[in-house]
Symmetry: none
Subunit: 220 residues, 4 copies
């Protein structure tokens, strides 16, 4: 018999995510998760200490699927405007999935709140999820300032913080919308809001040459 097959663990996590997605963490039942994963309840407890631990692992695993970065963003030879645009696209494209994931993660709080160690682990993961974005963003902004595309006087940490705050805020507010969401809290809204922010950063020169520069770039 294979020792604690990872495939089974993955099946359990998938089942748990499904069950939570449907009824929320509060309503998730170990019985139901076991049934969907096609394992016994005992096996659930062989893999995870408790219901809380399973739900925490479910949230953390869910992160893996949503923390993705477009390769183009990391290419330092590209024009900074394109790199920022690619980042915006990445964020906008994943927006709806992340909104759903986010609503679940928020619910996990009430389940995990009881155990300080799990709370710490969850919050730490939630903080970590955006750290990559912040760092990436700062390095792009620095490159932009160096190349003269972005205004030299911008306060990079504040701008990066605001970029992320806007994104988080839209994400958060999107969770309040149902059925017919306010367009501001859709992928299009993400593009518009972060596009506006990018505009503010451009140097006067970049502003003048924008159209031509971008066109050359595209044709290259």
């Amino acid at each position: 018999m294979p020792p604690h097959s990872p495939e089974k663990k993955s099946r359990i996590l998938t089942a748990a995510r499904e069950v939570c997605s449907e009824g929320g963490y509060e309503a998730a039942r170990m019985d139901e998760i076991a049934r969907r994963a096609e394992v016994s309840k005992g096996t659930l407890y062989n893999f995870f200490e408790s219901k809380e631990a399973l739900l925490l692992a479910t949230v953390l695993a869910s992160h893996q699927d949503y923390v993705v970065i477009l390769p183009a963003v990391e290419d330092p030879t590209l024009d900074v405007r394109d790199r920022l645009a690619a980042l915006i696209e990445s964020l906008a494209d994943g927006f709806e999935g992340i909104v759903r994931h986010n609503m679940l993660a928020q619910q996990a709080w009430s389940v995990v709140l009881g155990s300080p160690s799990m709370r710490k682990e969850l919050l730490s993961a939630l903080r970590a999820i955006y750290t990559g974005y912040i760092e990436q963003l700062q390095s792009i902004l620095e490159a932009g300032v160096r190349s003269g595309v972005l205004r030299s006087e911008i306060d990079i940490p504040v701008v990066a913080t605001n970029w992320l705050a806007i994104y988080s805020g839209l994400l958060y507010r999107a969770g309040f919308e149902e059925d017919d969401p306010n367009p501001a809290y859709t992928p299009a809204g993400v593009r518009q809001s972060l596009g506006w922010l990018t505009e503010q950063l451009l140097s006067d020169e970049a502003r003048k040459t924008r159209a031509s520069a971008r066109e050359e770039n595209t044709h290259a």
Copy 2:
């Protein structure tokens, strides 16, 4: 004693908010709420249909305390920069209380998720809470554009959306911090982030006269 004494109802809601604040919605027990409100459990059910209804009412009542607006903000005779500054102060001052309130409100989701009608009510309230801000903000921005303090080409809806997104984003991210929070997610961070946004809106003329103008204004 009049039926459904409002005083008793208020006592119940206060007790419920306390209990939820301490242990989260998941851990809130009707027994404990009744004990703190100094009423019987039966009385709880005379005022509220169910535990879910009580918790929903608790969240909604909690909104009342946090949706406050500084009178100065609404005074159209003031300089727009002061009105925006007053709004920022209002948001920054209430920040920590709202963060706590917000974490509770998020948890409430998992409790009311099961009932579509309650879910609608909660989400609607959550949407409404910021509507006042958005409208107020837009009217200030319009006044600013009219008076020449703000740049004429700004896209007021986008700017207002971003203002609120930044605020919401900081609020949301602040919920992930514990003990030694990142300064970006503190009242000071609110001032810095929204201050930066305000900067972007000023017209060239306002930018030049800022120091003197503000000084005159203050002395007036």
Copy 3:
């Protein structure tokens, strides 16, 4: 509704004792106890913190029924031989009931062993159950020595200890017997063993006058 009616508590304890008597403490199920007591499982937990606490209370309540003392034993005007004989009769008469009770109490150990506080409570009760006997016995022996019926050189504490040890030993060993018990571990055995002990205590004078003295006493 009467507040925690003692009658209900008593019904629960009775049901618990019945269930334990039949299958042992290990096999006692809260469901079954609730069913027999004609209360809900929840009510069981309104009266008793846990299963352990209920079983402990059951054992302690069981003591009440078996710690009985013959009034005659306490009458200091009677001849010491008669008082000792009455005590022996008391112990022999209750013997079979106490044997059954004892076997249950022993089983309770394994259930209650986990909780140090309960263990202490149980052991303390088990010690206390015989304290009355020891004290009573010592006062009778002292009276016997004073009246010259018992030998003056007897070591009263040692004799009292041995009296109780013999009784406890027979009680304990009786628990090992089934169906066709060794006569030594029956009420008759109790009379014989403790009768022998009493014999050893009589003074030479009492020994000579025994037949006549007792006869007079009986006729008095």
Copy 4:
């Protein structure tokens, strides 16, 4: 490796005894026993039908270690007083170990109570454990009467029963004591109680010559 290696069986029994000693039979887990014995859980079931059977075997094995008899006791050439004294020493020396063993054996009841056949086996073993003592004791007492050291009129079966009852009673009561046990329920108490009993048996002649006789004996 021979099938059902006795060494492995012994390791299992030792592990089981350790586990039971620490937490009691109720708390003993097959997992833990297997871990300590360094075998798999499956192997446990190759050696023992069930948990009950293993625990029963554990109690029975525990008996082997405690049913020991001093060789001197069996030597018919010695003075009966010395043989009884040696027996008392044997019982007193092993007292504390037997007390612990006894407490475990009592707990075993609740585990094996469910199975009549195991119950019979356990009770039979518990009866057998003292049979050797009784027989040995009776043969010593008979030798004592024949040699004139013990009073000729003693009722040997009753005396033997009482000797064993006193010992069992002290053993049993010792199980109720914790930390600071009553001296009556210690090895010293065993010596005192059984010493008193021996005293009652001596013939007048033996009583007179006791000091000198024993001294000679010791010097021989």
